[in-house]
């Protein structure tokens, strides 16, 4: 064993550059983002599963929908109506289950180990959430490319703005998922909670079928669902329907929710006696 200089135990520990808390958060967020992204890429099962699901919808459900859409008189091709909704679904499903990974990390002791370091508490949340956003955008782009042969028409600006909207949506769902995981600490409690929230949100959003077909009371509930507005915004963006007020409404609602979600989750991370 090679001799190592003795630890200067009684002196000041390893030089640490004094940073403002905000700089510290940005730096630590980057560190956690990079680590979690690397670990995800090393075991890409979840990315594959995350993209498989919507592709199955695209291939097995899309053609069926073509006729239905024309009947509902939405005025666009089935894929230009359907794919934006699927992207919202990818954003929801891709981030809602992020908490599973955190529960595993809690069990490994990784979270506790980091909580004893002077690192920023918010960075633990932000680093992981941004990782989820990056993966989600990757999945969304892949989805769009796959849908082009089916007959999807692209508006480049519309797609770019939709990507921004998806990122915001990811920043709503991922932080809430992590906060729930941190509080519940067990898959057995976390999985049913997420399932019972995600399914109604999906069904009420008009992603699968046009809400125009719904009875009045269902349409009312659908209107209360923030995902409905994100979906409507994405559809308008994909169809270059720039005058549609749903674009502004969807982006505004999602932005406000993202701020609230990050704030709530950051508080949970800085408080939790995990």
């Amino acid at each position: 064993m090679t001799a190592v200089p003795a630890a200067p135990a009684a002196s000041t520990p390893t030089a640490t550059i004094e940073r403002t808390p905000r700089m510290r958060t940005a730096r630590d967020t980057w560190l956690i983002f990079r680590r979690s992204l690397m670990l995800t890429i090393r075991q890409p099962t979840w990315i594959v599963i995350g993209i498989m699901y919507p592709v199955i919808y695209l291939v097995l459900f899309g053609p069926l929908l073509d006729g239905a859409i024309k009947q509902a008189g939405a005025g666009v091709s089935a894929y230009n109506w359907f794919v934006p909704g699927l992207l919202i679904q990818v954003a929801l499903f891709g981030t809602a289950f992020g908490g599973f990974g955190l529960i595993a990390e809690l069990r490994y002791g990784v979270v506790e180990r980091m909580r004893v370091t002077p690192m920023s508490r918010a960075a633990m949340l932000l680093g992981r959430s941004l990782r989820d956003v990056v993966i989600l955008l990757f999945q969304a782009l892949l989805m769009i490319v796959l849908a082009i042969p089916f007959g999807l028409h692209i508006d480049i600006v519309g797609v770019a703005v939709t990507m921004g909207l998806l990122a915001l949506l990811g920043l709503v769902v991922a932080p809430l998922s992590y906060a729930a995981a941190l509080i519940l600490k067990s898959e057995d409690a976390f999985a049913p909670l997420v399932q019972s929230l995600v399914m109604p949100l999906l069904l009420l959003s008009g992603i699968l079928l046009p809400m125009a077909l719904a009875p009045e009371w269902l349409r009312f509930l659908s209107n209360l669902n923030p995902l409905t507005h994100a979906t409507d915004a994405a559809r308008a963006l994909f169809n270059s329907d720039w005058g549609n007020p749903e674009i502004a409404i969807g982006v505004a609602i999602t932005s406000i929710l993202a701020v609230i979600a990050v704030w709530i989750a950051a508080r949970t991370f800085s408080r939790a006696n995990a």
Partner: protein
Amino acid sequence: MTNPTPIRTMMIDTADLKRTFKTRTGAVEAVAGVDLHVNAGEIFGFLGPNGAGKTTTLRMLATLITPTAGDATVAGADLRREPALVRQRIGYVPQGGSTDPAETGRGELVLQGRLYGMNAADAKTRAAEVLDKLDLVSAADRPTGTYSGGMRRRLDVGLGIVHRPQVLFLDEPTTGLDPQARARMWDEIKRLREQGTTVFLTTHYLEEADALADRLAIIDHGKIVAEGTSSQLKQKVAGDVVTIGVDGAGANVLTLVEAMPFVREASHDAESGLIRLYVDRGETAVPHLLRSLDAAGYEPTSISLNKPSLDDVFLRQTGRSLREEAA
């Protein structure tokens, strides 16, 4: 820029530290007022059965949970007012691991260094140093999921010392390790002390506390029941320990030996059928005991004479055997 740090003789100093947990059935006082004084450069053992409050105390000192009452200074920083400073100066190795099975040992160490504020180059250098020191170089770039239990535990310790902490907290460092890996871990811990690190470790292994700790405290039901060096604590028990095995007639034999003038204290464990007595001078007591038992018509199946162990200290203080609880 470094101020000459005054030599601190006290690394951990707590006053009436308490922690209450709220449960569905009411409040549970996990730590019921603990006073600890740990000197710089020593290995301090914190001994007690499962659920005695060891880990809760440790987690309070490591800033993971806030005390309900009481105060503490850790590595010269106030636990309540300066938790960030405490974090910078301590290392903490949790029970049950601290690594992601998909990450490499080197990856974990570099990240840990960076989270403690090092730049990328320093963190890399330091990670290599620690890997070398803990003899993990050949496994450095493998995912930790492929490590043996002993290797993973050494890496856990490595993560705790990456930033050269003044105090290292080890929660049950050798639980679940085979004897060889345990012996090796003990060597590492002793080496840390040689290099000037104060080590605070919890254990429910008496041998571990005996072999490693310069001083130790025994905790039971959230309170410290004994504190001192291992030999000081054993002296409290005073005398020698005689264990007699008798078949069936345990209660009668107990009455018989309790009446003997040289027996200070005796107890009977119904489960094992063993009678345990504390006597002043074991070597003269044993022949006496044998003669008396023989005269009364009892035939002991076994008899042994031992110097008191920490288990005897624990038994004396709490009325229970630590060995049984740990099993």
